[in-house]
C-alpha cells in the first residue's frame, strides 16, 4: 500500500549544524504517529519541514501521492496546532474557527453550521461569542484544534499541543484528541517530549535523537524491545549493568547469568557489554527453589512513589552496580523490609537486553 505521507532522505542544515540527518519515514492513512525525543533531537524541525514552515536542505516529501517537497505551506494540505495555541486574540471563537472557511467563500449559513458542529465536536458548544482570553488554556487548545480541523485537512500536525497545560487537563485532553482522531480518521503527527503521552495516544512512536530516527514502533515495541542503547535509556526507567561475554553467556560481577533467551553469540568471550533490565523485570516474588539468576540484595534506599516504591538494592554478586527495582508497598510491609534489610531477587532472563 502506498503510504499517505512519505519522507525520503530529509536533511536539514542550520548553518554548520545539521538538525536532521536523512530521515526516511512512511506514515499510513489514518495513523496517529508521535515524534518522541529529548529537546533538540529534531522532532519539531521535522514537523515544521512537513508543514513547509522550514525548508529541508535535501529530501523529498510526498503527501497523498503528491510531491510537496517544494510547495509553500498554503499549497500543502494540513491543519496545525501549536503549543502556544496561536489563537487570534482579537477575534472571537467563531471567527477563529471559521478563519480558514471564510477565505474559501463558503456561504455564511454553512460556515455557521460548520463552526457549531466543530465546537460541539471539541466539547465547547455555544462558545462562539467568547474571546480567547476568556477561556482556560485547555479550552483555548480545543478551539485551536477545531480551527485546524475546520477545513477538513488530510493531515493534522500537533506541535507539543499539551505541554503548556497542567497535568490533569493534559491527560484528559490527550485522550479526547485520540478519540477525535479515531472518529475522523485524520492522519495525525504529534510532537512530544513526554513518553507517557506518546504511549497513551500513538499508533506508532518515532523515537528521535540528534537528528536521526532511533526506532519506529508501537509503544510496547519501544518499551519492551528497544532497538538501540539510546531508546533503552531514554524510554522508561532502566538498570544498566556492566557485563562480560562469557562462553556464550554473560558474566555480571562474579555471577554467570543464565541467559539463553538473549543473543550474545555475536560477542567473543571477554568482550565488555552492558545488560539492560527494567526495574519491573527484577522480581522479589515469586521465587521458586531452583530458579536461576537469583541473588541476594541489600536495600540501600527506599523512595516512596504511592502504591509502589523505588528500591535501590546492591548485590555483591553483581559487582559494584546498584539496581533499582519496583516493590509494592504492601510487599515491603508484609516482609518488613527497610533500609539495610536483605532480600532475594530474581532477574528475568527473557527480558534482558544486551548492547555492546
Amino acid at each position: 500500500m502506498v503510504p499517505y505521507l512519505r519522507l525520503e532522505g530529509i536533511r536539514k542544515d542550520f548553518g554548520s549544524f545539521t538538525a536532521l540527518k536523512g530521515i526516511d519515514l512512511d506514515i499510513a492513512q489514518g495513523e496517529f504517529v508521535c515524534f518522541l525525543g529529548p529537546s533538540g533531537c529534531g522532532k519539531t524541525t521535522l514537523l515544521r519541514v512537513v508543514a513547509g514552515l522550514e525548508v529541508q536542505t535535501a529530501g523529498r516529501i510526498d503527501l497523498a501521492g503528491r510531491d510537496i517537497s517544494a510547495l509553500p505551506p498554503a499549497e500543502r494540505d494540513y491543519g496545525i496546532v501549536f503549543q502556544s495555541y496561536a489563537l487570534f486574540p482579537n477575534l472571537n471563537v467563531a471567527d477563529n474557527v471559521a478563519y480558514g472557511l471564510v477565505n474559501r467563500k463558503v456561504p455564511k449559513a454553512q460556515v455557521q453550521a460548520r463552526v457549531a458542529e466543530l465546537l460541539a465536536m471539541v466539547g465547547l458548544p455555544g462558545s462562539e461569542a467568547k474571546f480567547p482570553s476568556q477561556l482556560s488554556g485547555g479550552q483555548q487548545q480545543r478551539i485551536a484544534l477545531a480551527r485546524a480541523l475546520a477545513t477538513a485537512p488530510g493531515l493534522l500536525l500537533l506541535d507539543e499541543p499539551l505541554s503548556a497545560l497542567d497535568a490533569i487537563v493534559r491527560v484528559k485532553l490527550r485522550s479526547e484528541i485520540r478519540s477525535l482522531q479515531r472518529k475522523l480518521g485524520v492522519t495525525t503527527i504529534m510532537v512530544t517530549h513526554d513518553q507517557e503521552e506518546a504511549f497513551a495516544v500513538a499508533d506508532r512512536i518515532v523515537v528521535m535523537n540528534q537528528g536521526c530516527i532511533e526506532q519506529v514502533g508501537t509503544a510496547t515495541q519501544i518499551y519492551r524491545d528497544p532497538a538501540t542503547l539510546f531508546v533503552a535509556e531514554f524510554v522508561g526507567r532502566i538498570n544498566a549493568l556492566p557485563a562480560m561475554a562469557h562462553e556464550g553467556g554473560l558474566r555480571v560481577g562474579t555471577q554467570i547469568l543464565d541467559c539463553q533467551h538473549v543473543s550474545v553469540h555475536g560477542h567473543t568471550s571477554g568482550r565488555e557489554l552492558r545488560v539492560y533490565l527494567r526495574p519491573e523485570d527484577v522480581l522479589a516474588r515469586p521465587i521458586a527453589p531452583g530458579d536461576s539468576n537469583v541473588f541476594e540484595g541489600l536495600i540501600e534506599k527506599i523512595e516512596f512513589m504511592g502504591p509502589y516504591c523505588l528500591v535501590r538494592v546492591r548485590a555483591d554478586m553483581l559487582g559494584a552496580q546498584a539496581l533499582t527495582v519496583y516493590l509494592s508497598l504492601n510487599y515491603l510491609a508484609e516482609a518488613q523490609l527497610e533500609v539495610g534489610s536483605r532480600l532475594p531477587l530474581r532477574l528475568l532472563p527473557e527480558r534482558m537486553r544486551v548492547f555492546g
Binding site: E8, G9, D13, D26, A51, G52, L53, V55, Q56, T57, A58, G59, R60, S69, A70, L71, P72, P73, A74, E75, R76, Y78, G79, I80, F82, S84, Y85, A86, F88, P89, N90, L91, N92, Y99, G100, N103, R104, F131, P132, S133, Q134, R147, A148, A150, T151, P153, L157
Partner: protein, 570 residues
Amino acid sequence: MSTTALAPQSTPVRQRVHASERIAHAALAGVALLLLAFLAAPLSTLLIKAVQDSGDRFVGLANFISYAQTPALMQSLWNSVWVSGVVTLVTVPAAFVFAYALTRSCMRLKGLARAITLVPLLAPSLLAAISLIYWFGNQGVLKGLMQALGIDQIYGAPGIVLAEIFSTFPHALMILVTALSASDARLYEAADALGTSAQRKFFTITLPGAKYGLISAALVVFTLVITDFGIPKVIGGNFNVLATDVFKLVIGQQDFNRGAVVALLLLAPAVLTFAVDHWVSRKQTAMLTARAVPYRPKKAPVFDALMSLYCVGVCVLILAMLGMALFASTATFWPYNLQPSLKHYVYGLLEAEVDVALINSLLMAGGAAVLGTLLVFVGAYLLEKTNGPRPLRSAVRLLAMLPMAVPGLVLGLAYIFFFNEPANPLNGLYHTLTLLTICTVVHFYTTGHLTAVTALKALDPEFEAVSASMKVPFYKTFWRVTLPICTPALVDIARYFFINAMTTISAVVFLYAPDTKVASIAILNLDEAGEMGAAAAMAILIAAVNAVATLLFMGLGWWVDRHTQAWKAP
C-alpha cells in the same frame, strides 16, 4: 518502495514562493529602496564629500588635516566635548535620583511629577535657552545673583550647560525609570532574609541592576548635547561648538568639504552610543526573566519626604524655566513694561509671518505622523512576520537602526549634499516640504521602528504559519489580526513623529526655503533678529500645539482601545 537510492542533491531544496508572498517580497524591496534613497545614499555622499576638495577631486584625508590645523575649529571640538561631559555628569545623577524617587519611594503624586518632567519634550530645546536669557541675560531678573556667584554672563558655556541639562533631563529620566523599573523584588527579599543593610542593597543590587541604564543614559545625554544646534545658537554667544561650526562652514562659508569633516566628528559619538546601546540592550534583556516579581516600595517616612523634597525642587526648576518663557512672551516690553499682552504673539504670527511657518510645521508633523507611521509599521511587519530574501531583510534591518546613530545635523547636511546635486533625479525635492517631511521621518525612524517591532514581537509568532496552513494569504491576516492588535502602538508611533516633527531644528535647518520654513526655524530667525519676546511666544505656541496634540492622541488612543481592544477585557 522505490529501491533506487536518493541521488545526493548538490543544490538545496528551494521552496516555491507562493503568489501572495511575492507581494510581501516586493513591498520589502520597496521599503529597502526608500531607505536607500533617503538614508544610505545621502550619508554616502557626506562621506565622499569629506575626502574631496571643492572641485570634487579625491584628496584623501587633506580636509581632516586642514581641520586639525585650524586652531579655532579645534577649540570648538574641545568646547563641545567638555560642555557635553559636564552636562552628562550633572544630568545623569540628577535624573537617577529622580527616577529612584519615582520607582523606589512611596512619595505622592508620582504621576504629576512624571508629567511635569515630560513637558520640556513638548517644546523645541531652545526654549530653555530663551528662558535662561530672561532669567540671567543682560536684562535678566537674577543677573545680579548669578554674578555674585562668580559667573560673569550667561551667554556662552554656562548658558549652554544649564539649558542642555534642562532639555536632556527628560531623556535621561525615561531611560533610568525603565532601568530601575526592571527590578526583581525577589533579589531584595533574599537580601532582607540575609539581613543586608539598605546601603549594601543599593550598591549590590540596585546600582548593578541599573548599570546598563546608566551607561545608556550617559551616552544618550552626551550625544544629544554634542549634536544640539538650537541651544548653542541662541545662548552660545561667542562660545563656538561643533554644531554651530557646521552651520557656519556650510551655510556661511559654503565650505561643504570641511563641513562634512565636522559632521563626521559629530557622527562619531553618536555611532559609539549606538553601538554601546545595542550591546547594553542585549545584556539588559537577559537580566530580567519572565518570572521576576516587580518591586513594590515600602513606606519609609524620612526617605519618602527627602525624595519628595528633591522632586519638588526639580519640578519647580522645570516649571520656572517654562513659566519664565510664558511670562516673558506675554510681557508688553521686557523688562520695563510687564503688563500682560498678546503683542508678541500677534507680532510673531502676523508680522513675522510665523503663521505660515506654523502651518508648514503642522503639515510636516501631520505628514510625518501619517507617512512615517505607515512606513515604519509596514517595514517592521515585513521584517518580523514575512520571510523575504535574507540579504534584503538584513539590509532593511540595518537601515532601520541606522538613523539612531545619525544626528539630525548630520542627516540634514547629508540631504543638502545629496539632493542639492543637479544631476540627482530627486533634485526636484530640494527645498520642498515633502523633503522636510521625509527627512524628519528618517531622522526619527528608529524609535518608531523599535516600538513597532516590540508590538509585533508580542504577537504569537505562529499566526502566519497557522494562516498559511488555512490557505489564508498573509495580507488578510495582517488586516484582520495584526493591524487591529497593534493599533495602540501605531497611535504611539504617530504621536512620537508628530511631536518631534514640531520641535525639530537640527535636520531641517539646512533644508528649508523661505516658503517652506517651519515654526521651529522661525523661532531661531526671530531670535537672530533680536525679537526675543516673539521667539519665546512662538516656542510657547509650539509647546501648546504639542500639548493639544498629545491630548488628541491620548483621546485617539482611548477610542482605538475601545474599538479594537475589546478582546483584552476579561
